[in-house]
């Protein structure tokens, strides 16, 4: 059984200001499969509008007091999560899942840091899917102007397009942009019947779905299309700084060499490695290992029981800012080759 079997999943709902995060959260909370869910929301501004919209729905809502979720207030999030855990342990209320709704201006990465770094939280909670809402009318403009908006789209595990029923929504253009930024993230429309199962529960740590989820990550066709689109774009466009690609390695990867390399890469360029996900054929291992990181943070790897498809190559997806594919590929290959002359001690 996975070491995460008893950990409570934390889903992050993010998205730019006015993109419909709270509306989505309200809808999800109304569905029966969202029973026993605790919610942490940010108060943004003096009114704490989101909190007022949600407070009638569930008593397990805790409002963070510090405004925007960013590095400087991680303590606030950590304190709230520890408090929720203690209240749960004391039998005050039960919940099986935590949803954190960020402010529209939040960078999701610090939330992930908090899950990984806090000495209490990291033994009780684990990261679930990151869901990003994008306004179909204003999303393209926001991604052109606001780096937070781009980053929210780039780190998403699931994307929900909102306001798609409005006449001036240019869905094909938005979808093309998202395919370039984050080709493997499934995209849903807010007008669909969205359930917790669709958006929240199928993740890397769910034994029933992890193999399928990893299959999404390394969808070769999606990355081939994204790579094609990326080369076709105007180099001056704002979000051309961020792009996604998938590296494949025919030779098995030496786990130690990979660890040294990725640790070094993230020390030097972690700010610009928005997301790394991969399925590794590790030397000496009969089944693949899934790795998953956001900026400087790498989650403990997960063993899969079997390969998701017939392809036995290692495949690693990068979503990066201002980094090129060539040097990353060459560097990892060079580090891995160092281990080829491994001497048994």
């Amino acid at each position: 059984m996975s070491r995460y079997a008893g950990y409570l999943p934390v889903n992050v709902i993010t998205g730019f200001l006015g993109s419909g995060k709270t509306t989505l959260l309200k809808r999800l909370l109304e569905s029966p499969d969202m029973a026993d869910t605790a919610v942490l929301i940010n108060e943004f501004g003096e009114i704490g509008l989101d909190h007022h919209l949600l407070e009638q729905i569930d008593e397990n809502i805790v409002m963070l007091q510090s405004g925007c979720l960013c590095c400087t207030i991680r303590d606030d999030l950590a304190t709230s999560m520890r408090d929720l855990w203690e209240r749960r342990a004391a039998g005050e209320f039960a919940f099986r899942r935590l949803v954190v709704e960020t402010t529209g201006l939040a960078d999701p990465a610090p939330i992930i840091y908090t899950l990984m770094a806090d000495p209490v939280i990291r033994f009780h909670f684990r990261l679930g899917n990151i869901i990003t809402t994008i306004d179909a009318v204003n999303g393209l403009k926001q991604m052109n102007r606001q780096s937070e908006s781009l980053k929210q789209a780039a780190v998403a595990d699931r994307i929900v397009l909102t306001k798609t029923d409005l006449s001036d929504a240019d869905l094909p253009a938005l979808r093309a942009r998202l395919r370039d930024l984050n080709p493997a993230a499934p995209v849903f429309l807010a007008t669909e019947r969205l359930t917790a199962t669709k958006l929240l529960t199928n993740d890397l740590y769910d034994p029933k779905s992890k193999s399928k989820e990893v299959g999404h990550w390394i969808d070769a066709e999606a990355f081939a299309a994204a790579d094609h689109d990326h080369h076709r774009h105007d180099a001056n466009r704002h979000d051309d700084h961020i792009h996604a690609f998938c590296l494949t390695f025919d030779q098995p990867i030496d786990w130690t060499a990979f660890g040294i390399w990725l640790t070094m890469l993230l020390q030097a360029h972690g700010e610009d490695v928005l997301r790394v996900k991969g399925l590794l054929n590790v030397k000496g291992m009969p089944a693949p290992v899934a790795i998953h990181g956001v900026q400087h943070v790498v989650h403990p790897p997960v063993h899969l029981k079997r390969w998701p498809d017939a392809d036995r190559r290692s495949r690693i997806v990068f979503i990066v800012r201002d980094l090129e594919r060539g040097p990353i590929e060459a560097s990892l290959a060079a580090f891995n080759a160092l281990a080829e002359d491994r001497v048994t001690v």
Binding site: T114, T256, M264, V297, V298, P300, A330, S331, A334, F335
Partner: protein, 103 residues
């Protein structure tokens, strides 16, 4: 404390996690993996004039050619400490490093 420091101070490094090693557990295997880790890391560190040694299986000691040394509690602290000692970044994408590794 910034997010990065939080992770670096969080104890077990992701490369050492139980999940990663559960198929290869056992003291002898762990010793062998650690020796392999030190040997490979030193192949990289040599390009920066640094050397890492295992310290009783519980920490590492990073030293330079003038004899200055730093104790590293976790592998995650290696690269920040190395950069502090050489006063420049250790970048695996540096073409000079990739070329020096024969690629």
């Amino acid at each position: 404390m910034c997010g990065l420091c939080g992770v670096l101070g969080a104890g077990e490094h992701w490369t050492d996690s139980d999940d990663a090693l559960k198929k290869r557990s056992g003291a002898e295997t762990r010793r062998r993996e650690r020796a392999h880790q030190v040997a490979l890391t030193n192949r990289i560190l040599s390009h920066y004039g640094l050397k890492m040694a295992d310290w009783q299986g519980s920490a590492f000691v990073l030293s330079n050619r003038t004899g200055a040394s730093e104790v590293i509690d976790h592998f995650a602290a290696l690269w920040p400490t190395a950069e502090k000692m050489i006063k420049r970044p250790c970048d695996p994408l540096d073409p000079k490093i990739i070329a020096a590794l024969g690629w």
